[in-house]
């Protein structure tokens, strides 16, 4: 058996994994990074519009500070976020952005003097002061009180990824690309690395490590073709954790639909378009968001804008096409120069895929799956529930910064902020750890993986088709676990997905090709993907309220008396089913209140914030929250948000 050892094994070569790798490598550890693709091809490169950090550098950002970023994030999450994590995040984001500037990210900079912007449909001219010249510029994004998104045209993720990967190259970190982890090696509550399959040769390698980090991104491809996500976002990391049977996935029903997916390809068109003044129009050319959200208009949070768009379509005001009804994103008034500099990637995408010149024509768009708020549940140090030595970071994790709705620009920020924060914890943990795993444990996991491969390769060449199963799963989720949900449809989705899962037993393998064998690779992944899909639907069915992106037409109230909590799903291989449990949402500082957009009914908490907070520590530990380096709550900045101005809707203290 081929066994290799390393101090830190990082699975996933996007921004979160690489930033974490830098931290561990700088601390002197031997780091190995496994990635499905060369790191610069990771989906992080597809982040377009920006990265949130409260630097407060331009006029429309004046007075911004981390506390306001914290407020926006928690309200955006519809109070589903862990507020201590949101506090850590908001305060670390400015440092992370400046560090990226140090590493060479060509952030768009403040241009002093007269600048022309579009704000709420009005052309405005603002003088940026001389004393801010050359600092990092911001653009507006949805759900924020200030202009806060730092950006490099509409290629922010690309620019950040190249800078971070440059550091990985400089440090000489061992990157193994075209490698997929098949299982985590674990024993008695301790993770010791992974069994990995080479996607060039098909051969297996055991990687033993003192600490293991999962940073595999989201799992949007469970929605089949109905996602902005890259083809590689198939939830390989979430599956690894789920298959341990020990580690839970958090809030899998919290799925973000981006308002502006290009029709028909589903390619993302950044929120930066609306941030820079773009409009949404219906078939009659009306800006329906003005009446729907007078305060924020097109720049309410994504869940809210997506719902208004779907309502507009349902009420017959969409534009008919052979690919279903859509709406328009209108950027014509921004002008060609702006589009070809500050939104250059949007210009390219419209030209390449639709033959549309966005300075002359509006862009066909509709909401589409975009981001997985749910993922591997970890504590504030990034360590997974119930398995020491296993960490998760970025979109693969449920840290839980985003709760039930992530704000635009917060995911790119999360990758590097969490990469730094969790990377430090990984480095500390690794420094104290020693590799004491019995090789017979590793051998058993290797045997399991080999057996799994052999069973697939022994299958008949005729039978059900793995790609048809993937498509069927995508149809069910898109139709029944979408922007709007309801009990009967969710029940039907769960039933459908169970049937789809059973169909896997009858799948044939047409190709016996050596090496990668793409069909075998797809077959191995579909087993996990159907489980993730099922948990998503079951979590949505069980949660009889509406919160953030989880919107139940049969339960339209946000119910803080019963559902101010986080869903935890563990997989039982004996039952071949998930067990859903719930934990407190985390310590509350900002009490639940109005978000300031997307008006909804609310059922208040039936206890005080103090009573809630008293049961949080024990409640979360009971569900697997491992001890953290600093005690829970140590980073809370109690009441710092009180008295802040510029808040569109300040919640009242819950007495």
């Amino acid at each position: 058996m081929q066994i290799r050892t390393t101090d830190v094994l990082i699975i996933g070569g996007g921004l979160a994994g690489e930033r974490c790798a830098i931290e561990a490598s700088t601390a002197g550890h031997d780091v190995t990074l496994l990635s499905l693709v060369p790191p610069r091809r990771s989906h992080s490169c597809a982040a377009q519009g920006g990265m949130q950090a409260a630097l407060g550098n331009c006029v429309k950002a004046e007075g911004d500070e981390p506390t306001i970023h914290f407020l926006d994030t928690v309200r955006g999450s519809d109070w589903g976020a862990d507020q201590e994590v949101a506090t850590i995040f908001a305060h670390e984001a400015p440092i992370a952005v400046r560090e990226l500037a140090h590493w060479g990210v060509p952030w768009t900079r403040v241009r002093p003097g007269r600048n022309t912007y579009f704000v709420k449909g009005e052309k405005v001219e603002i003088d940026e002061p001389e004393d801010k010249a050359g600092l990092i510029m911001h653009r507006d994004f949805g759900g924020t009180a200030k202009w806060r998104a730092c950006y490099a045209s509409a290629g922010t993720g690309h620019a950040v990824l190249y800078a971070v990967d440059g550091e990985v190259v400089r440090l000489g970190i061992n990157v193994q690309d075209r490698v997929e982890a098949m299982s985590l090696i674990h024993d008695a509550g301790r993770c010791w690395g992974a069994v990995a399959r080479c996607l060039r040769t098909g051969r297996l390698t055991v990687w033993l490590a003192k600490s293991t980090v999962v940073a595999t991104g989201g799992h949007g491809r469970i929605y089949g073709q109905y996602t902005t996500n890259a083809t590689i976002n198939e939830g390989t990391g979430a599956t690894l954790a789920l298959e341990t049977g020990v580690v839970p996935l958090g809030n899998m029903e919290a799925v973000q639909f981006h308002p502006t997916g290009l029709v028909p390809s589903g390619i993302l068109v950044t929120e930066g378009c609306r941030g820079d003044g773009g409009y949404l129009l219906n078939r009659d050319g009306e800006r329906f968001m003005v009446a729907a959200e007078p305060e924020k208009q097109e720049l309410a949070s994504r869940d809210v804008v997506s719902r208004h768009m779907m309502n507009e379509i349902k009420q017959g005001r969409g534009v008919d096409s052979d690919f279903g009804p859509h709406l328009w994103l209108d950027l014509r008034h921004l002008g060609e120069t702006h589009l070809r500099t500050k939104l250059r990637e949007v210009w390219d995408i419209c030209k390449d895929f639709n033959g549309v010149d966005p300075s002359k024509e509006p862009i066909p768009v509709r909401p589409i799956q975009h981001y997985s708020m749910g993922g591997i549940r970890v504590n504030k140090d990034g360590e997974a529930y119930g398995l020491r030595g296993l960490f998760a970071v970025g979109e693969a994790a449920c840290w839980d910064l985003h709760g039930f709705n992530r704000l635009g620009g917060n995911s790119l920020a999360e990758t590097v902020v969490a990469g730094r924060v969790v990377g430090q914890r990984v480095a500390e943990f690794t420094a104290k750890a020693s590799l004491t795993v019995d090789t017979s444990v590793a051998h058993a996991f290797l045997m399991d993986a080999q057996k799994r491969l052999a069973l697939w390769l022994d299958r008949p060449t005729v039978g059900d088709d793995v790609y048809k199963i993937r498509d069927a799963m995508g149809e069910v989720l898109n139709q029944k676990v979408g922007v709007f949900r309801n009990g009967p449809e969710l029940e039907s989705a769960v039933a459908d997905l169970r049937v789809i899962q059973q169909r896997i037993a009858n799948v044939g393998l047409r190709s016996q090709a050596g090496g990668l064998n793409p069909e075998l690779t797809a077959a191995l992944r579909i087993e996990g993907m159907t489980k993730l899909a099922l948990i998503t639907a079951e979590g949505a069915l069980a949660r009889t309220e509406s919160r953030g992106a989880h919107s139940r037409t049969d339960c339209p109230t946000r119910d803080d008396s019963r559902w101010l909590n986080r869903t935890l799903a563990r997989w039982s291989s004996e039952e071949n089913a998930a067990e859903l449990r719930y934990e407190p949402v985390g310590l509350l500082d900002l009490p639940p209140g109005d978000r300031g957009y997307g008006k909804s009914a609310q059922e208040p908490m039936n206890e005080s914030v103090e009573q809630h907070n008293e049961r949080v520590v024990e409640g979360m530990r009971d569900e697997g929250y491992l001890p953290t380096v600093e005690p829970m709550g140590s980073r809370m900045q109690w009441g710092a948000w009180q008295g802040h101005e510029n808040m569109p809707m300040r919640p009242e203290r819950n007495e």
């Binding site: 693709v37 060369p38 790191p39 610069r40 091809r41 990771s42 490169c45 597809a46 630097l55 952005v97 400046r98 500037a101 140090h102 590493w103 060479g104 060509p106 952030w107 768009t108 900079r109 403040v110 010249a133 050359g134 490099a152 290629g155 690309h158 990967d165 550091e167 190259v169 400089r170 690309d177 075209r178 060039r200 098909g202 890259a230 083809t231 029709v263 028909p264 390809s265 993302l268 534009v319 096409s321 052979d322 859509h326 328009w328 250059r344 390449d352 895929f353 639709n354 024509e361 066909p364 088709d465 790609y467 190709s511 090709a513 050596g514 090496g515 990668l516 064998n517 793409p518 069909e519």
Partner: protein
Amino acid sequence: MSQIVTLEKPRTLQFEIFRFNPEEPEVEPRMQIFELAEQPFMTLYIALNRIREEIDPSLQFDFACRSAICGSCGMMVNGRPRLACNTLTKDLPEQIRLRPLPVFKLIGDLSVDTGTWFRGMAEQVGAWIHEKEPFDPTRQEERMDADLAQAIYEGERCIECGCCVAGCGVANVNPDFVGAAGLNRIARFMKDSRDARDADDWFEVVSDENGIFGCVGLMGCHDVCPKDLPLLEQYAYLRRKMLTTGAAR
């Protein structure tokens, strides 16, 4: 406002695709023909996936973002290197010949190892900021002129797809030549006020046959770059800088 409509008369497309799996060396390299009915908005991403899913499940190729930003899917399309994902079949004749990019090591069929090549190039040219002093987390960011940031970004947009390398007469014969992607990256860092390297340092990196003086000016790279990078301007900048530096030595 233009409506999205279907094709009037779908064509039958004939794909002639290079096949070889190094894990099955006993099967000789060959060209294989597949037929597909064209569909509206069909890209080579859609077509190749349909071929794999409906006809031959062993076909290897690489896609990730399918929106022309990750650089995974460079291949030779009717003799020209380009990204497959943003190539619409409606812009191609009915006969479409697909081969893997040259220069890069073949992984199988249309899949090549660009990752190893680009990591090697990054190490060769030192494609990271050589800091002037360590990062200080307590300080405001260093200021940068907005136009300079924009100029750096222009070069930064390279997605390392390898089309320029595949289309380069020099890179096809000299494996150490850094190619257009490498020269562009050098120019990007030379322009960056945050980088500590001066013209003499850069002269050591780029002034031999593997760098700027290795380019013989065929400019195939410029013709095939799917991101329309300003490669002519980048070379002019590099050559001017290196000529003055070299002449002053």
